[in-house]
Amino acid sequence: MDDLEQKFLQLSWKLHPDIFVNLTEREKEISLERSSKLNDAYRVLRDPVANVEYLLELEGMRKEGEHKQQAPPELLEEVFELNESLDELREARSAGANLDVLTGKLRDAETNFGEKLHEVDAELKTAAQQWDAALDADASDSDREAILQRLNELLNRRSYIRNLVAGVEKELTGAAS
């Protein structure tokens, strides 16, 4: 059990509404409010991506609903190819043609982008560690700003790739049925 989980469980024993069920309405309200905050915090802290999103929100770098959906330049070629394959698949499906070759191609693309997603996750982890180190070292505002920028870019890239993968999955399940 890691430190985070241990701390979460310890606080759950202190705050959970079950423990306050026979007490006053006021105490029940407080328990409900505090235990929901505890659970919200644990949900964010144990998920590395949610963690970074929350940090950027705190630092005013990222507002809700604001996600850049432009393709990262280095992926442009592959994205273009992918979209072409998706179009071909839709056409072939409406024409009732054999889809095996196309779905195979898309599966490869799915794997390829899945790997890229893992790469971004690893980069996010490194950047998050850099942020922690910068805080510990009391780094300058401009250094911190640079790390936050980097984190923001990585999150946008991640959300873009994730949408791509989800789109491919959706088409492939459509092809299978």
């Binding site: 509404p17 079950d18 069920v21």
Partner: protein, 613 residues
Amino acid sequence: MGRIVGIDLGTTNSLVACVDAQAGQPKCVTGPYGSTLCPSIVSLDPDGSVIVGEAARRRLLTQPERTIYSVKRLMGRGPADVQNELALFPFRIDPQSKNVIRVMLGDKVFTPPEISAFILRELRSWAQAELKEPVDRAVITVPAYFNDAQRQATKDAGRIAGLEVLRLVNEPTAAALAYGLHEKQRGHVAVYDLGGGTFDISILKLISTSEGDIYQVLSTNGDTHLGGDDIDNFLQAFVHHRVLQNGSFDFSASAESTQELRKSLIALKHDLSEKDSALLRFPLPNGELFTHEFSRAEFEKIIQPIVARTMSPVKQALADAHLAPAAIEEVVLVGGTTRTPLIRRTVQDFFGRNPHIDLNPDEVVALGAAVQANILERGVSNMLLLDVTPLSLGIETYGGAVSKIIPRNSTIPASAQEQYTTGVDNQTGIDIHVLQGERELAKDCRSLARFTLKVPPAPAGLPRIEVAFLIDANGILQVAAKDLRTGEQHSIEVQPSYGINDTEIERMLEESIEYAEQDFAERQLIEARTESEAILAATAKAFNNSQSADLPADERANIDAAIAALKASATGTDYKQIRKRIDDVNHATEHLAELLMNSAVSTALEGRKLAEV
């Protein structure tokens, strides 16, 4: 204050359990018919009294228009949601129903929570008779995959029954609690719960800490309209089709034969859990006899789609818990439907280990509810349940899309805050639509509530209102708003899309007192008389059968004497005497019952009472 009990309010059967103060072990309460199961069936007598459970089950055939079963399927749902079910369930929905379904029993109209409240009252009376203490609070279990409206409807049922509902506990979680207590097991546990009408899968982690044991739910999934009822429906459709093919009879024209057939098919289904084949012999109303030998293989082929439908929630729950099937150390089967061998095999193959079946699958949920009731009653405890919300909570945004604010499988209580402002000068209201579900568009999710946030007139963009959405430990939504400029709290009246409001609940509570709390002896008398009517009718029917001519004269005389004695005592008020005479008639007609079942089925039905044939 009175005692707290644990109640499993099931689709087919309901149970009540409590923890014995001395032994410290949970135990289900046995009802007046000698069983811990109370059939979830309610019948409204023409004299206005309400009959619940076994006595009501007997009325399914004699008074189908005054009797209702499987009402749990209607909880928290709107009329449009249940159109598909109406073809297979003999619910009579009031055509005037708007958001909340209203069901007709005879000439009276009830909401599903009111009908469930009758069942809760019955169970409370069982518990009070056993404990010899008043019971005024309860922990009630719900399917883990129940949405907000279905949970709210269950809580409303408790209030209408005059019970304070201290907690709604998810059924698989309750089962894990009873099971964990029994086995002292730690680690990852999967609970596969297939009941009469609902399917749940929950993945839990059982953890020992220095303060005590924690039962942490990691993920849950399911289908609130999948269960043993569907097996019955598939079998029924199979027979309807066969019979119609022969051109002999159309079941859709006869509610009574549909009920009779359903009863035979349920018995057949139970037989097929034990045996390799079972014979259906069903006398059609047109005098023909329909027979069909079901092999286990044929049965499994018919129900295979139902079993298959349970597996995608299982896979999703594991994926959400970030676990592979092999990481599950224990598998627990809950719900009567898991007695089906095909289901046991399927679950066993998937997880690669033998599921636990040592606790009675019908009772385990009620036992767990009693454990949780006991924890809450004592206030301090060495056991803690951490459950999750089964569905994501979202709000509608531009273009009918949904923005998820609390993801599914978040530990509850959970909350999210959203800030709102105005788009035009002096705008006085902001419309908010709250939804539950995983789909991207609002129209594909379940609408929980719509409300208008009141805003004081101001230039556009100036107001700052923070709305807090909170899912409490029962999985029920609460909403509060705060004006961030003034710090003022706004109370929000959230009118649930598919719920009953507080005023209506108060009215129902008052009305229910009309029906409620008859003297125990009086209720016993009504039940005994109902049973006596049923057995007399069954005996009269039996004597009309040509097979009864084979009965020796002295036996016939014995039966006539027993019947006369029963008729005489049924006019009196001594329910114990009526019960004894019913037993006498049952005993005297044993041979007659055997004669009626011809040789082919006699082995299957040996030892059954006449009323069950």
